[in-house]
């Protein structure tokens, strides 16, 4: 990992199309501004990891799936 030190207001270029700016710092928090092409997805890492974990949990096998689902459908109606 490349580690750079920046002061508030300074910017980092990544590739040709991405710029990261330190907008503000306060206590433990850093506000980061990101300029990137629309097709580049930008996510908080922990959110991505949460979705990953949820997807993995979602592949757990369900016994008697159809009868379980029928019960669920009936309860909801």
């Amino acid at each position: 990992m490349l580690v750079l030190s920046r002061k508030k207001g300074q910017t980092i270029r990544i590739g040709d199309d991405i710029e990261i700016t330190i907008v503000a710092t306060a206590n433990d928090q850093v506000k980061i501004g990101i300029q990137a092409p629309k097709n580049v997805e930008i996510l908080r890492q922990e959110l991505f990891e949460e979705i990953q974990a949820e997807n993995k949990a979602a592949t757990a096998s369900v016994d008697n799936l159809l009868s379980n689902l029928k019960n669920l459908s009936n309860l909801k109606k």
Binding site: L47, N55, A58, L69
Partner: protein, 148 residues
């Protein structure tokens, strides 16, 4: 073509029904081909089944049935990557995380699966700026006890 499925044994599918997830899905970046198999007659539940790996299958549901006011903006980047031209071409399902007992199962409303019915391109879209949960209970209140 014939595929092996998690909940339906071996089945024959049409290549034209295969959904293409260009980037896979989070946790499964190499799984790019899925089919959406109906599970219940009322059309409420489906299985999003990998056409390559029998064990990789997700139970999915129509989110609007469980949360009537479910609403999100598909941002331009997604519209473009899926080639979406009109709203009616879009189909949305959400992935259910099964729990024990099953009626405690939850739906991932924070990352819906968005599909373009026109070209079969699909993507799991992680919503950045909403309050939706990755574990939305399928029942908002405690389920009513069964009779008896």
């Amino acid at each position: 073509m014939k595929i092996r499925t998690k909940y339906h044994g071996e089945m024959t599918i049409n290549e034209e029904d295969i959904l293409h997830f260009e980037k896979g899905i989070p946790g499964f970046p190499n799984e790019m081909k899925f089919v959406l198999i109906p599970l219940t007659d009322d059309g409420l539940f489906q299985v999003l089944q990998s056409t390559v790996n029998e064990d990789i299958a997700f139970i999915t549901t129509d989110p609007f049935f469980f949360k009537r006011d479910y609403d999100f903006v598909v941002d331009d980047a997604i519209v473009e990557s899926l080639g979406i031209q009109q709203e009616k071409d879009v189909k949305v399902v959400v992935i259910i995380t099964p729990q024990e007992p099953f009626n405690q199962s939850t739906a991932n409303l924070q990352a819906p699966v968005v599909m373009n019915k026109n070209n079969n391109k699909a993507r799991q879209v992680i919503l950045n700026n909403t309050n939706y949960l990755t574990k939305h209970p399928l029942f908002a209140e405690e389920p009513v006890a069964a009779k008896g």
